[in-house]
Subunit: 337 residues, 2 copies
Amino acid sequence: MTLRLSVDMMGGDRAPESVLAGAALACEKHPKLHMHLFGDMSVVEPLLRTHLTLAQRTTLHHTDEVVTNNMPPLTALRTLKRSSMRLAIEAVADGLCHAVVSAGNTGAYMALSKIILKTLDGVDRPAIATTLPTLKGPCLALDLGANIDCSVENLVQFSVMGEVLAQRILGKPKPTVALLNVGSEELKGHAVIQQAAQKLRAIKFLNFIGFAEGDDLTCGNVDVIVTDGFTGNVALKTIEGCARLIMKTAHQNFMKSWRGKLGYLIARPAFKAIQHAMDPRLHNGAAFLGLRGNAIKSHGGADAVAFANAIDVALRMMSEKQSRLIGDEIEMKLKEI
Amino acid sequence: MTLRLSVDMMGGDRAPESVLAGAALACEKHPKLHMHLFGDMSVVEPLLRTHLTLAQRTTLHHTDEVVTNNMPPLTALRTLKRSSMRLAIEAVADGLCHAVVSAGNTGAYMALSKIILKTLDGVDRPAIATTLPTLKGPCLALDLGANIDCSVENLVQFSVMGEVLAQRILGKPKPTVALLNVGSEELKGHAVIQQAAQKLRAIKFLNFIGFAEGDDLTCGNVDVIVTDGFTGNVALKTIEGCARLIMKTAHQNFMKSWRGKLGYLIARPAFKAIQHAMDPRLHNGAAFLGLRGNAIKSHGGADAVAFANAIDVALRMMSEKQSRLIGDEIEMKLKEI
């Protein structure tokens, strides 16, 4: 079956060049992929000449309108009826594509996705979810930036949504779920988190284990970690920054002495493996969870490799069966609570 | 001049053993240090026999009462009048000691410090501050867990407090100050952070540069990063967890092949240097900023090396002149705004 992917060519700091190069990489990797590219064709078409494989498996959709990074979501929603972002999302709503990927303005992308794709029954607000590498396999974390202020109900819904996604994509029948907090003791945290924990403890089907702390995001003791979009976004970017700091510190230390340089040369494959494991580009791509359709957000600063990885995430989610199952289960479980 | 340090022997997951061992390490390192140890002497005294240097430079203060990790701050405040934590703080208020260090219950320690040491004029709530290693020298971050919910005024005061501390301990005459947020664009974040930014922009003496993101905590582009205690605590622990993940992943990768092992052996000094730079124990110790007296918080899980490092932090803050200057400047600047 051909997988049809919709791509917003104009979103992201390095669009459309990196987006196009990323789409081209993904096309080389996935022979069954067909792309629908939305954007300013006066810029995109000339670039496409150097990407022959992509050019052969692409349908182009021209539009002049672009959602910029600084544009308030409401402006993107109300004034731009033909932005590349909006048209790319509509392609999923219309059934033309199985999923959409954009590296553009997160707030606008989420607002448009919510309006165009609609939320699942029982979901008040979608959340941004991604898997993080840990010492013991991936940990699913949400929300990573869609909802700056979260209510008790939001956190409860995110927990159920996260549980279902972890079952499907991590293959864990009974994933553990925890709320991110400043301590694991029951009394810790603010009122919203306290009340959310109380409600989650009462949900029988959920394997809710209480509170997780910042270091649990990478230690692998919890399968699903739920938080508000403010904290989640800061934590995610903190991990990226920390990884960069350590890799650079390591490199500087090895290059300081001849022993370091020699050891580096000999152990080069091991260094490459670590760089690969920690490369934030290979963890790029987060799902908007809770929508009637697959929308994937790429980091705004994504280069070609990173954008191609976001497409990989989309492919993992976009099989029709898979995404319908996830949606159905979320709706069923939210009805139960 | 002899520096007199007050130590809560009963606080922390590994107390009193690790606390005592840490105090002993610090004593070996700092010949002018005299310790006042507060705690259950039936446990502490026998342990002291193996630490002769410390034993010679120590005054013991017995008490049976202990603030446990799970105790609500109000209980510690109202029912325990002779806890080791309280007596250790009182030693600073009474002028017996120049600073106090505890690895115990953070909430109780902060509440007791606030009541006993009192806050500086203009400071509504003290904050927990520490320096983080970055690619370009240390970054001062606060609040790291004292205040779960923060008002606009709290964030503004933290910014001024952070500026003064950075001037004194980082030696930066005009440190840059930023608020931690989910994006650097002016429109990002919730109402409190938006209003705080507006007020900070209006403070003429402050080098406020707007919003920082999670990765700025470790990239070194900002001298002082201000946030609420919830986000700050999660970010701090996220850094710790991430560092652990990378160091362990690295070790596993090197041990997988003979080339890795050989390279590791040859470049051992470089590895050790990196481990040292990233060792969370050597970054242990955070200051309660905004009080009329020096109170330093050690991580609850601190071992001897980590606790000794918290004492180092105390020593940096505790010269009478230094801490009075910091306090005076904070009061003066808060009056100006």
